[in-house]
């Protein structure tokens, strides 16, 4: 009996102590996407760097993508353990804003490498990129020089794209075509569809098929060739520069309104904009950091194409039209 009691009391003591320790070091929970938290993503470096300065634990929860994070937050509502969401992009910010689940960050971006100045009271950008068609220079000698040429040239290259219903780049292309072709988007898709080898569920499938040689070009990012160049010392890949400009994806983070760690979350956002965090991004997330100038990027990035102009549709417009546009797309593509 004594033994049992002693065991019980020591367990209770241990529990109390662990609670005390937890109370002393707060934990900041961030919902982000899987490839951010993976070993070779920015996650581990970001965690180490932030924990070194915050006297806290940083818990990164990897979900499928931006859509999953936002949906998860909506499902959990005010019970969510998330203090921050990191990794939703500009085609989702309007929906996130409308959910009312985010708190103002009250910070200003002192430095920015974004094409347009950033104005948003809820979300702050940490990186960005441009959608582009990537090709193998040994296979495709002269890529199209504009989106219009890609669409209209019936002898043009075969392409792999992603489904806008299930994939961020897929939605990006839909918006890109909308921005360039406007009311004639349906006709553009009808012409393009003859050279689309397949429409994949996600980026990984399409890119994997492209590397297997299933098509001449794949919808990806202007920064994709940097991975092959820097991580694999392979200079065969390039992104085609289109004269109409390239659609932009800006990835942002925002503080959750119900969080008990508002100050810590704000500290993280500040850290996110610092050189410390920003310098991790290029070779782990393979995107452009939001505040570093081109000259501050690792060697290899200077070989990438520089899209101009940067295209972006208004977030409210995207939020209100997205569903109808996808339905139109489905109609055209199911012919």
């Amino acid at each position: 009996m004594h033994k049992v009691f002693r065991l019980f009391s020591s367990t209770a003591l241990a529990l109390l102590l662990s609670f005390a320790v937890q109370a002393a070091t707060p934990t900041l929970v961030i919902y982000t996407y899987d490839s951010f938290t993976s070993e070779w993503g920015p996650g581990p470096l970001v965690k180490a760097a932030f924990e070194a300065q915050c006297a806290c634990n940083l818990e990164l929860v990897g979900l499928e993508d931006g859509v999953s994070m936002l949906n998860r937050l909506k499902l959990e509502g005010s019970n969510s353990r998330a203090d921050l969401l990191l990794g939703i992009d500009t085609s989702l910010t309007a929906e996130a804003r409308a959910s009312g689940l985010f708190a103002p960050h009250r910070l200003t971006m002192k430095k920015s490498s974004l094409p347009e100045p950033w104005q948003d009271d809820l979300f702050l950008p940490y990186d960005y990129g441009y959608f582009a068609f990537v090709y193998n220079k040994e296979r495709l000698g002269s890529p199209p020089s504009s989106l219009r040429q890609l669409v209209e040239d019936e002898q043009g290259p075969s392409i792999l794209v992603q489904d806008p219903r299930t994939s961020t780049p897929g939605l990006g292309l839909l918006l890109w075509v909308k921005k360039v072709f406007g009311d004639e988007s349906d006709q553009a898709w009808a012409r393009l569809s003859k050279r689309i080898v397949t429409v994949s569920k996600g980026w990984s499938e399409a890119y994997g098929l492209f590397l297997k040689g299933e098509a001449d070009m794949v919808l990806s990012y202007t920064t994709s060739p940097a991975y092959h160049l820097i991580a694999e010392q392979d200079a065969r890949f390039a992104a085609a520069r289109f004269s109409e400009g390239h659609y932009q994806q800006i990835e942002v983070a925002g503080m959750v309104r119900s969080s008990q760690q508002q100050q810590l979350a704000r500290d993280f956002l500040e850290f996110m904009l610092s050189d410390n965090f920003q310098s991790i991004i290029p070779t782990t997330n393979w995107m452009y950091p939001a505040t570093l100038a081109r000259s501050e990027l690792p060697a290899g990035f200077e070989q990438l194409i520089e899209p101009s102009p940067a295209l972006l549709l208004d977030e409210q417009l995207v939020a209100s039209k997205r569903k109808a546009w996808v339905e139109d797309w489905l109609e055209v593509m199911s012919q």
Binding site: D34, E59, E64, S204, G213, M333
Partner: protein, 524 residues
């Protein structure tokens, strides 16, 4: 308490738990009025032209895929059954369990390596469309159907074969009078299982299907829950999918005739070897090449990849541990639940209530078509106000995977358990052999082989799971499929092929181990 009653109670409990796991999350999703910015869409949307088209396509591709997988599988299983001494038979049959564990995206790559424009049998652009979908589905399901049908030949008593020989039956007559009745017992269940697997196929159909023409209901569910964030729509579509499957189930089960079980004590059920073998050898070789090619291409890719870099990584080993833990735990629950359901269903069919028995099997199988995304999201709604969901990731993932594995257990264990029950139940009663003793002295020795197959299939399925684990997100270490997915998402395609190979080797080992440890020495 009589045996029948305790069986009924155990099965009833299992059913109640199944219903709770499937229905409670759906109810949770339907009751989401509190979510900011959420307005449920028009629930009549499922009558729209889009959904009608999707329904038609899902059904059509699933039907074709099922027929293309299961009909050849009957011939191949027969060839395996009639050639018990075929060299490498055991290895081939274990290889046949592998497609089950391959995550869809990896299988797509394997199929493309073989039939893509740079592949061994280049089909060019014509791969993308129904061709690609069928090839991938047959690759997944033909071997599974072979594994599930093969044991039926072992239920044909040896003296039947001898009698056939004495009567001078030719191959067709032997098939018609000896083999078909045995196959017919398991066939409807196998057809239904493969149909469900093809109906809910997602990444394969979308990617190899060539475009949004090839949209399955599962895609529409994913779309309404994720993209449109309309949980109510998702639930309605999930129920629609459930109803289609129930209808198909009722139709296929009409085909079923449960053969009279003979009271025989023959333990050696090996059929006499048939002399005309060349056709059967051809069949095995063709099937082996068909299933082997995508696997071989993965092997070749992996050996060209950064093998040591991936193996030397410590988190890889944690992922292997996680994968094993999830796979084996899910299998324990799957096999346990399946066992109790099947026991009751066997005693029902012994007392002539075959209708009820089938209904019970059906209830255990049909849960497969409720998308994990719907169950998982619903569980979030229900659990997050009360518990720390992160602490519950493993239990939830294991539960949903166990649910998904249940139909495999029912298919692989069901026929043998029913026969065994019919043969020995009255003997057991007269000997007062029940409970643990009955299991220990009667059921274990006679059922350990199908039990081994059931456990191996359920484990493999859960080990290959990506849908559930990706949904919940792990704060700590990934499983192997998740690791593959992360690598693919980070340009690390060579690394991903190595990880995929390791997943295959791990499954092969587990399959071999479980069939050996549980199933005993003899080969399948």
């Amino acid at each position: 308490m009589s045996g029948l009653n305790s069986r009924a109670i155990a099965a009833g409990l299992v059913l109640a738990v199944l219903a709770l796991i499937v229905l409670a999350p759906m109810a949770g999703l339907l009751n989401l009025s509190g979510i900011p910015g959420y307005e449920p869409g028009d629930l009549r949307f499922w009558q729209s032209a889009y959904i009608r088209r999707v329904l038609f396509f899902s059904f059509w591709q699933a039907l074709l895929s099922t027929l293309c997988s299961v009909l050849p599988a009957i011939l191949v299983a027969r060839a395996f059954a009639l050639l018990p001494d075929f060299p490498l038979r055991g290895l081939l049959l274990r290889l046949f369990a592998l497609p089950l564990v391959v995550p869809a995206v990896v299988a797509v790559m394997g199929v493309v390596s073989v039939y893509g424009s740079g592949g061994w049998i280049p089909l060019g652009r014509s791969l993308y469309g129904l061709n690609g979908i069928l090839l991938a589905h047959v690759f997944f399901n033909l071997p599974l159907a072979v594994r599930l049908l093969l044991p039926q030949w072992q239920t044909i008593p040896q003296h039947h074969w001898q009698l056939g020989e004495q009567l001078g039956m030719n191959a067709w007559q032997r098939w018609r009078f000896l083999e078909w009745p045995a196959v017919r017992e398991a066939l409807p269940g196998v057809l239904l299982l493969v149909f469900m697997l093809c109906l809910t196929s997602f990444a394969v159909v979308l990617t190899l299907g060539g475009g949004p023409k090839s949209t399955t209901l599962e895609v529409a569910i994913y779309q309404s829950l994720r993209f449109d964030f309309d949980p109510a729509q998702a639930v309605v579509l999930a129920l629609l999918q459930l109803s289609i499957c129930t209808l198909v189930a009722i139709l296929t089960l009409k085909l079923q005739r449960l053969p009279e079980v003979e009271i025989t004590l023959t333990s050696d059920l090996k059929p006499v070897t048939i002399r005309q073998n060349s056709l059967n050898i051809m069949l095995i070789l063709v099937a082996g090449v068909f299933v082997g090619m995508p696997l071989l291409s993965m092997l070749i890719d992996a050996f060209a990849g950064p093998l040591w870099q991936v193996i030397g990584n410590t988190t890889l080993w944690q992922s292997i541990g996680n994968t094993l833990f999830i796979g084996l735990s899910a299998a324990v629950f799957s096999v346990g639940a399946g066992w109790f359901l099947l026991q009751y269903s066997a005693s029902l069919s012994l007392t002539g209530k075959t209708g009820k028995a089938r209904l019970l099997d059906l209830a255990g199988s049909i849960v497969y078509v409720v998308p994990p995304l719907v169950i998982g999201s619903g569980m979030f709604v229900l659990l997050s106000p009360h518990v720390d969901v992160f602490a519950w990731v493993y239990p939830i993932v294991i539960t949903i995977n166990a649910l998904m594995g249940l139909p495999f257990v029912i298919r692989s264990l069901g026929p043998a358990l029913r026969q065994n029950h019919a043969r020995y139940h009255y003997l057991c009663q007269s000997l007062s052999l029940q409970g643990w003793n009955r299991f220990r002295y009667l059921e274990w020795p006679l059922l350990r082989r199908p039990l081994g197959l059931a456990a191996a299939l359920a484990t493999a399925l859960a080990m290959g799971d990506l849908g559930v684990i990706a949904l919940f997100g792990t704060p700590h270490t990934a499983t192997l499929p998740l690791l593959i997915y992360q690598q693919l998402g980070a340009y690390m395609i060579p690394q991903a092929t190595v990880t995929a190979l390791l997943l295959l080797l791990l499954s092969l080992t587990v399959f071999w181990g479980l069939e050996r440890v549980i199933g005993g020495k003899a080969d399948a």
